[in-house]
């Protein structure tokens, strides 16, 4: 990346047809960070998720909002594929999720929580979604 360059990425799964919303969000997450998404509902049902990212050479700023329940996991396989060298710091604005970080303790996270995630370690999170 060019020094000083600022890259902007926006994703809104409401834009594609319902049948491919889940797939488009899955592709986006997998391409960015290797995270694998799972849902109880069929993949061809609507799934609303929005992301807005700004990226410089040293950091990525991301606003992420999911409106329906889903699970996300970072497996050893995904870690190897993504080859990430980043630490994620989150600030939760609304909604809750249950997360198992660093291969062990499960924690509930909600508004005002500020978890940190090492994206070179496997983890799982069950997001309950939030209404805008």
């Amino acid at each position: 990346m060019r020094k000083g360059a600022l890259t902007f990425i926006q994703l809104d799964t409401a834009l594609p047809p319902d049948k491919v919303q889940s797939l488009s969000s899955c592709d986006s997450k997998a391409e960015d960070v290797g995270i694998e998404l799972e849902r109880d509902a069929p993949w061809n049902t609507p799934f609303q998720l929005t992301r807005r990212c700004l990226q410089t050479g040293k950091l990525i700023l991301d606003r992420f909002q999911a409106h329906l329940q889903y699970r996300a996991s970072m497996t050893e396989k995904a870690i190897a594929r993504a080859n990430l060298n980043v630490i994620e710091m989150q600030f939760c604005v609304s909604g809750t999720n249950e997360a198992a970080l660093f291969g062990g303790n499960t924690q509930m996270r909600g508004p005002q929580d500020m978890p940190m995630i090492d994206l070179e370690c496997s983890f799982m999170t069950a997001d309950k979604g939030v209404m805008a």
Binding site: G4, L6, V33, R52, C53, L54, T56, K58, L59, I60, L61, D62, R63, F64, Q65, A66, N85, V86, I87, E88, M89, Q90, F91, C92, V93, S94, G95, T96, N97, L101, F102, R109, M114, P115, M116, D118, L119, E120, C121, D127, K128, G129, V130, A132
Partner: protein
């Protein structure tokens, strides 16, 4: 769930990010440090919290100068009373 995130380059944290006391008590996980002494990231959380009501553009405005201007980072850090580890 709705959240804001900052993804920081691990090498940048280890080599360039100044150590300091974390205002919110959230330390980097041990696994992120690969055996190095624990460091904390004081400014990132504070900036995230302050900017979260104004959108990702506001967060970028807060962070981008800090990434490109270490002097400004130190000035903000001093003004917020962060102590060195």
């Amino acid at each position: 769930m709705s959240n804001y995130s900052v993804f920081l380059n691990r090498t940048y944290i280890l080599n360039e990010w100044p150590p300091g006391r974390n205002l919110y008590g959230a330390f980097l996980p041990d696994t992120a440090l690969a055996g190095m002494p624990k460091r904390v990231v004081p400014i990132a959380f504070q900036q995230l919290k302050h900017a979260s009501g104004r959108g990702v553009d506001a967060i970028a405005e807060s962070f981008h100068p800090l990434m490109t201007d270490p002097l400004r980072f130190r000035e903000i850090k001093r003004s917020q009373g962060h102590e060195q580890c």
